[in-house]
Every structure is written in structure tokens, then in C-alpha cells.
Symmetry: C2
């Protein structure tokens, strides 16, 4: 029987669905957390709900934060276009301090639940160069978590699990498939339409498509 | 002329109003940020708007986060009563991971603005024992900020200013008064009424009242 609870950040994309499957396979009772932060579309959040059900999450909660108010990213500001060809450096789809915010919300909820384990599906290899997907960031947040909380002040240790951080997209897909993830339920596209159909052209679509090819598995993505 | 921009977390209480006055006195162009996280009352947020105007903030922005959904604190969960007599240890008014969340939002906005300075009015002496008001927490967040952001990855250094952290409440009030803070505009009470009148009994009211006594200044607080 699962005994420990974990909070799992679940965007509705391929990586976080895999992270949820891994947390469950490790015996955690999973509390999935999705954050609506002003993304361009809600198809990803609908996908998160389907994935949570499909992977037997104990519960799934949605929190809203209005990051759209600060802009600064192609994912939250309609005035900034999503690139449809490869770029160099950190791209405009970077959302300022996003993973810090996500982990803060997950940490607060974990503390209320009495959970000491957080899962996040970040990945350094195929992460488009986002700084808050690097191992040093995860380690720094884990240190912070102990100092930031009542539980930490009382001696508890929080663990930030980033089980995909060193995997390629192909390895992630193979591992998730082994654990029963139905990737047809997930939406990775930065500009999916209302029905969750992918553009096939953005960074995220390109990485995903290449991942299925590398894994030698059929790509179940619905393209527009 | 002020040249650098700073994001200042502004709750509408006494401490953050003083932090805003200090940021301005140090020559920063101030971008005040208030966060509606499911507090019991909005009087504090109304106070924040008055304080921002009164202290010449360049702009004042409100972000909403639904922490009420996770509960776990007397400040966000109506089922938990605000204590009206002194308690020991970390009290039930502690909001899980609150300052981590606040600083995450401030960091994201700072990055969009091109600001490298954040101000937060935390205070370790009169902070009711909240873990995320300690110097070690502030230092850990400052380290994290460099790793969490595109700006940091490109070499920028973020400074988290906590100018009140070692001051007593009386010292804070004397410094703020010297810098022109009108404390009649601020609301500190955990359970103020709709008009912003204070209960006079909660931890926050007791610390505030004692602060004016220690400063040898009249208490302008409106009590219910």
C-alpha cells in the first residue's frame, strides 16, 4: 500500500505525465497540482485532468496565478509570438521565475498535506535552455524548502524529485510507456488549439516529435 | 534622479510600508507588488494602494493567487481561528511557503522589468516566529534567484533587501516616521473589519501597539 504522499506538478504535457507515473511507481500517494498562470490556451490544463485520472492520482488540484499581468514571455503575453523555427540561447517562451513559483505552490501544499516529497518533470537536455530546469536550480530549491517552512524549522527534510532531469526525450517516452502513460492524453504544444491539437512547429512540438522517433514508438499526438 | 528600479512587496501593513519608504530613500524607482492570496479581508490590500500612492511608488500591481485552496493557515482558512492571546512556537497564522511564493512573484516581475533589487519587509525579532522571516531564508532565496532566472544565467545578480530584518518594531516605526510614512494608512490586524479597523487583540495588533509605545509615538491605528 502507498504510505507516503507526494505533490506532483502536472502541466498536462509529456514530461510531467511521466513524472507522475514515476512517483506512483515509487509507491507515493500522488497529489497532482496544475497551475493556471495565464497560458495561451487551456487545452494543457484539460489534458492535466485527464492524465491525473488516467494515472490514478489521489487528487488533482488547480491553482490560478495571474502571471499574464507581468508578461515577459511568449507563453503569457499575446504580443510576443511563439517561435516556429529553432532559436539559440534562452528562448522567448521562457516564463520568468516559473519553476520557482510552481515549486513554491507545491511546497505550500505539501506542507499542509504533511508531504515531504515534491516531483517536477524538468529536463535539462531537451529543456530549450531554460535556467530553472538545471540540477543546480533544483538543489538550491531543495535547500530553500527547509529554511522556508515551519516543517523545515521543526526538522523535516523536503526532497525535490526531478526524475527526468538527465534523460533524453526518447528515454522519457520509453520509461513512461513502460509505466503505462497514455501520451495521447497529453498536450505539449505551446499553441495548441481549443481541442488540444498541436501546431507541429513550435520548439515543444519539435522536441516531442523527435522524442517519439528516438524512442522508436508511434507518435500519438493529434496535429491541427 | 532615481535610476534603478526595485520591486517592493507591499502588504499594506506597517513593515512593508516602511520597506517601501526605505527603497525610495535609497533612490530606487519603486514598483510595489501586493499579492491577494486568500486573506480573510481586503482591507490590507486597500491599505497597500493608499500607501503606494502616499509614498510615491512608480506603480502598484496586484497579483492574485488562490492559496485559500490549500488552507493550512488561520489567515487563509476560515475554519482556523486567529489566536487572541500569546502562543508559543510557530503560530497558526503562519501561511505555508508564503514568503517563498511572494518572492517568486516579485522575482518574475523584476526580471521582466529589468530590475535587480527586491525589497521585503520581513523582520526576525517581531515576526511571530515565522521561519521565512529569518536571514538564512533571505540569503537562500538570493542564491536561488541567480539560478532560477534567465537574467541570472546571463550573469545578473539579484539582491534581496530585507532592511527591517534586525530591527525591533519600535525602531521600524521610528525609521518609517523619519522617512514620512503615514502609519494611519496602514493595516496590520489579522482580522481587520471591512473599514480596516483593527481588533486590537491578535498577535499582529499586539506587536504593533507595543511598537508605537516603544517608539514613544502616538498610535494612529483605528480600533474597532
Amino acid at each position: 500500500m502507498p504510505s507516503r504522499s507526494a505533490v506532483v506538478l502536472l502541466s498536462g504535457g509529456l514530461d510531467s505525465a511521466t513524472a507522475l507515473a514515476i512517483a506512483r511507481a515509487q509507491g507515493f500517494r500522488t497529489h497532482a497540482l496544475s497551475v493556471a498562470y495565464g497560458q495561451r490556451h487551456s487545452a494543457e490544463l484539460d489534458a492535466a485532468a485527464r492524465v491525473a485520472r488516467s494515472l490514478g492520482a489521489h487528487e488533482h488540484r488547480l491553482m490560478r496565478v495571474d502571471l499574464a499581468g507581468i508578461g515577459g514571455s511568449a507563453l503569457t503575453d499575446p504580443a510576443i509570438a511563439v517561435p516556429e523555427s529553432p532559436t539559440t540561447g534562452i528562448p522567448v517562451t521562457y516564463v520568468p521565475a516559473r519553476n520557482t513559483l510552481m515549486l513554491s505552490l507545491a511546497l505550500g501544499w505539501a506542507e499542509v498535506l504533511g508531504a515531504r516529497d515534491l516531483f517536477i518533470g524538468v529536463n535539462v537536455l531537451d529543456s530549450s535552455g531554460y535556467p530553472d530546469c538545471r540540477p543546480a536550480f533544483i538543489a538550491a530549491f531543495e535547500s530553500l524548502a527547509g529554511l522556508a517552512t515551519k516543517a523545515g524549522a521543526e526538522g523535516a527534510h523536503f526532497t525535490i524529485h526531478a526524475p527526468l532531469i538527465e534523460l533524453t526525450k526518447g528515454e522519457i517516452i520509453r520509461e513512461g510507456t513502460r509505466l503505462g502513460v497514455d501520451y495521447a492524453l497529453t498536450v505539449s504544444c505551446y499553441q495548441a488549439d481549443r481541442e488540444g491539437r498541436a501546431c507541429g512547429r513550435c520548439d515543444s512540438c519539435r522536441l516531442r516529435r523527435a522524442g517519439f522517433e528516438a524512442a522508436g514508438l508511434p507518435d500519438p499526438t493529434r496535429y491541427a
